[in-house]
Amino acid sequence: MFRPATPPQTIGPFFHIGLDAPGPEQLVSAEHPDVVRIEGRVLDGAGHPVDDALIEVWDADGARFGRCATDAEGRYHFLAGKPVSGSAARAPGEAPHLNVSVFARGLLDRLVTRIYFPDQAAANAADPVLSTIADPGARATLVARAEAGSLRFDIHLQGEQETVFFAL
């Protein structure tokens, strides 16, 4: 029997007391052979840091998740496993990625986006989700940028560089 869903509400500014368990930003341990640090900032439509967001990342097979509250500069970070061929359950043709939820005061529902990896150009070009996005600038918002020793993925809630968000 079909049941209508319970509607979402904002996570509010005080979620830290309930959801900020120690070390939740690690999807894999720092000693993992394929560990990569992913970091970025969350910015609002005025370009100001969003200092009360919770970023949650599920890897593509859903087995591991991490979450990180943004700091005063809107920064978050995760340790995740680099994509290794055949390592994650994905639909045929999907490039390696992480599923991301953004929760914050002012977001009445979570925002959903994806982090793709910059060293997977061929897989990204063939990815059935990325390829539905016609505008190359918008598509680029979903691919992390390689920096020295880490990957950078900023989340722009609004503005010129607004991140692509998905409806489920």
Binding site: T6, P8, Q9, L157, A167
Partner: protein, 232 residues
């Protein structure tokens, strides 16, 4: 289900941009969302185990040396998927103010007293019937700066994982008969009265513990069907 059915269900969700709730103005996305096909990676989710829980995680009244002030309550219900099946062994987390309407959070400046015997955070795993259960005290209403003389109705924040990325839900549970509900832009952002009612718990005398605690019943329905078997 037909396209029209889905459209009517979407109409029951809050919009991102809802100007009466001021914080949405600079945070709501301005471009249309892209429909994400329900491929494998959104149909799976993390597995939780009892080893991650402590026995008193679900009882917010027994986490300190003494009993917290306030009206002791039991809040319980089932977590179900869109097909009405129980979602078992999934993580449910809650956080709330104390009975005076104050969060034990350094950013909460409301000059109501903190309660040294109340943190206001709990968690549990659902059982074989999808049931969760918390023991706590009734949270208080509190003022916020959204508009002049704005007060949030009493609520408990809930976070539920489910078995698929599509299930993930963060929401708030409210109490029946609260006159502040009519004036709360966060609650009123949900477009229809029937959908709003799904966030309001029911007083259930069968759940009370006589001479000890009142009982409230609230079921949570996650979006979409349960996890499907892995495909090749």
């Amino acid at each position: 289900m037909t396209t029209t059915d889905w459209a009517s269900l979407e109409a029951e969700r809050p919009p991102y941009l809802y100007p009466p709730y001021r914080s949405t103005l600079l945070r709501a996305p301005t471009r249309p969302l892209i429909l994400l096909p329900h491929m494998l990676s959104v149909r799976t989710g993390p597995v939780f185990g009892d080893g991650q829980m402590s026995p008193l995680d679900h009882d917010l009244t027994r986490q300190h040396g003494g009993a917290p002030l306030g009206e002791r309550i039991i809040v319980t219900g089932r977590v179900l998927d869109a097909d009405g099946r129980p979602v078992r062994n999934t993580l449910v987390e809650v956080w709330q103010t104390n009975a005076a309407g104050r969060y034990a959070h350094n950013r909460d400046q409301h000059p109501a007293p903190l309660d040294p015997n109340f943190t206001g955070a709990g968690r549990c795993l659902t059982d074989e019937d999808g049931r969760y259960r918390f023991v706590t005290v009734k949270p208080g209403a509190y003022p916020w700066k959204n508009h002049p003389n704005a007060w949030r109705p009493a609520h408990i924040h809930f976070s539920v994982f489910g078995t698929a990325f599509t299930h993930r839900l963060v929401t708030q549970m409210y109490f029946p008969g609260d006159p502040l509900l009519d004036h709360d832009p966060i609650f009123q952002s949900i477009p229809t009265p029937t959908a709003r009612e799904r966030l309001v718990a029911a007083l259930d005398l069968a759940l009370t513990m006589p001479e000890w605690a009142l009982g409230y019943h609230w079921d949570i329905v996650l979006r979409g069907p349960g996890a499907t078997p892995m495909e090749g």
